[in-house]
Point group: C2
Chain length 374, copies 2
């Protein structure tokens, strides 16, 4: 336990906690394992906004029945290299694991696998799917549409979600390139985290409900696209978010654009569209991993600008965070994240499940040496 | 002829002029037609930096022998859905046309075609290749690496090119989504055009040779990635440029990163890497074009922000420019672009070709009603 009340929790504990929580709401161990691995990965990689911070929403969606707990994704149509998948409204990571594994299998046969899915749900960090392909020696990509948050250039109302792009690729000796980025200036989770920590957000991040720029995370209702305003090429970020929607909603026939539900107040199912791609480097020029390592090191060895200590490549900040976790024996959680996770459980309609959740949460914290006052 | 000396030249004249110029340096009519169509398209779509403005470089590359004039691209290896192509150092548009047509053919068979090419050359506007797929009812993508211009976040030296991304898709009734963007804040051609017009560039675009920000286009040696500085998420644009390099140089085995030559002073061949993709929407949910049109109109019908007249989608500014050209009977050229094209021919080592070029140029201008003093 640190001075500010932060707490280090071993990865295996966080994993087991998520599996048990999801078990209470009827998700089998294998499926819950996909979500648990995803959430642990997010926190382990330093993306706290997309880890345990989000667990209560997944629980809530399953408990309210807006996400299905007893179904499986299925292939609607396919070629040797492509597939259209119906997620049958199960948890996003269950749909995503099915789709990226299908894409990897197709890439082994045809050099590439391109899978578009509808009827899915929030899938967490996109990087998790890309890394699954990397583990098979493949380039992996993942995209998802999401609830409206991004305001198109020259407009005042959100149409697109944060619509992330992940592209991951295997380099030498376990090294990898892992680009995992929202097509908004930042992921909305960063606004949530600022709000939770009581901090203001920087200029150029968000707008209020009327479409005016704001630095108050509590007022921030929507986000600028990557690039910011039109003057600074924000239309490129807007175009990229629409590209993601093209691969997700438009290709799969799911909800798209402003037809997507407002996530947290959801009474209806999400019907998100997603896209998963695997490419086998072996179908192209031999020596892929060597060249990628060389390119990454070409960047890492650049002389840093004044005041900077090092030049990084996509995936390096996460690697640094994971190394830190490994050294300290687990993931460091800010006390507000813990309090928040607990405080929001009353939103769940079934109190016995809520109490079970609190019990388990405290159990984990207790094992880790902390007793929370709820 | 307008007040400032600008001149409207019919598209067919520009096309014929380019074919004739390339014929003089030994490019056959079919191959020259690819370049001519590409350059006309660039100017017609309003991307003057990538049209006639660039012709002299293509001519120079062929004349100096750094680009081959008597070769054809060939397939090195392939699966039903992928191919690795050796461009054999012919002009970029000849390589690109071969590759995107191959990708389209594969997409017809397998739902998707993913082609990576090495040993290629500058390919002009990426949109031209995407639109070729759109003409076949497909989603089309094109990527290329390029001479170092983009400075990685926290560094002071360029490693990546402008590394453009094109994604184009067919909507209803001839409408289309056409994203064609450099992963730098702007394409370098916009800096060149500012220099030619004697204008300063906005803050956040470029850096001088020492890696310091500058607004003088004459001093501008390299560019910020999309997003600008680290504070405004420039590392995302840096990551996207590296993603493009992954698809191009790393997958194909061409030059990559800072191994790419400095374009204009080239004594050696470029060996650029490129990537071309076609996806058949018919392999996914029926009704693709309807949904895409609906999404595009969802954006176009948004209420514009204060001071704005309309919300656009990627491809709309180009459509507006093409409509203007159609109305005025051709492409309006700024006199400085014309003067520049002529002035730079002395760089060509073979004077007789230079004179032939000037002659043809004047011939076209003469037909269009202008006699230039050279």
């Amino acid at each position: 336990m640190t001075d500010d009340g932060s707490k280090i929790v071993p990865l295996a504990e966080v994993y087991a906690f998520v599996v048990r929580c999801m078990g209470v709401v009827g998700i089998n161990e294998d499926d819950a394992g996909a979500l648990a691995d995803l959430l642990v990965s997010a926190d382990y990689r330093g993306h706290y906004s997309h880890g345990l911070n989000r667990l209560y929403i997944y629980i809530q969606d399953v408990k309210s029945g807006t996400t299905a707990s007893n179904a499986k994704p299925e292939i609607v149509k396919e070629t040797i290299a492509t597939a259209l998948v119906d997620g049958n409204n199960v948890l996003g990571p269950i749909v995503g694991r099915f789709c990226i594994d299908l894409a990897i299998k197709k890439a082994k046969d045809a050099g590439i696998g391109w899978v578009s899915a509808r009827n899915s749900n929030h899938f967490g960090i996109a990087g998790w799917y890309g890394l699954r392909a990397v583990d098979s020696g493949m380039i992996g990509m993942a995209f998802t549409n999401a609830s409206p948050l991004l305001v198109p250039t020259r407009a005042t109302k959100a149409v697109f979600g944060t619509n992330p792009i992940c592209v991951a690729a295997p380099a030498k000796d376990g090294d990898s390139f892992v680009l995992d980025m929202a097509t908004t200036v930042v992921a909305y989770g960063k606004v949530e985290m600022a709000h939770r920590k009581g901090e203001m957000i920087p200029p150029g991040w968000g707008m209020d409900a009327s479409g005016k720029e704001t630095q108050d995370p509590g007022e921030c209702q929507c986000l600028f696209p990557l690039g910011g305003t039109e003057r600074t090429s924000g239309y490129k970020g807007y175009g990229l978010s629409m590209m993601v929607e093209l691969f997700c909603g438009i290709l799969s026939g799911s909800h798209y654009g402003s037809n997507n539900r407002i996530w947290k107040d959801a009474q209806e199912k999400a019907d998100l569209g997603q896209c998963y791609v695997a490419i086998d480097p072996a179908a192209f020029e031999p020596g892929f991993a060597d060249r990628l390592s060389d390119l990454m090191n070409m960047c890492r060895t650049l002389e840093p600008a004044e005041g900077e200590t090092e030049v990084l490549v996509a995936g390096d900040p996460e690697r640094q965070h994971m190394a830190k976790c490994d050294k300290q024996g687990g993931i460091l959680y800010h006390p507000n994240v813990i309090k928040y996770a607990v405080r929001h459980q009353p939103n769940c309609p079934q109190l016995n499940h809520y109490l079970t959740f609190i019990f388990m949460w405290n159990h984990v914290l207790h094992q880790a040496g902390v007793i929370l006052k709820t």
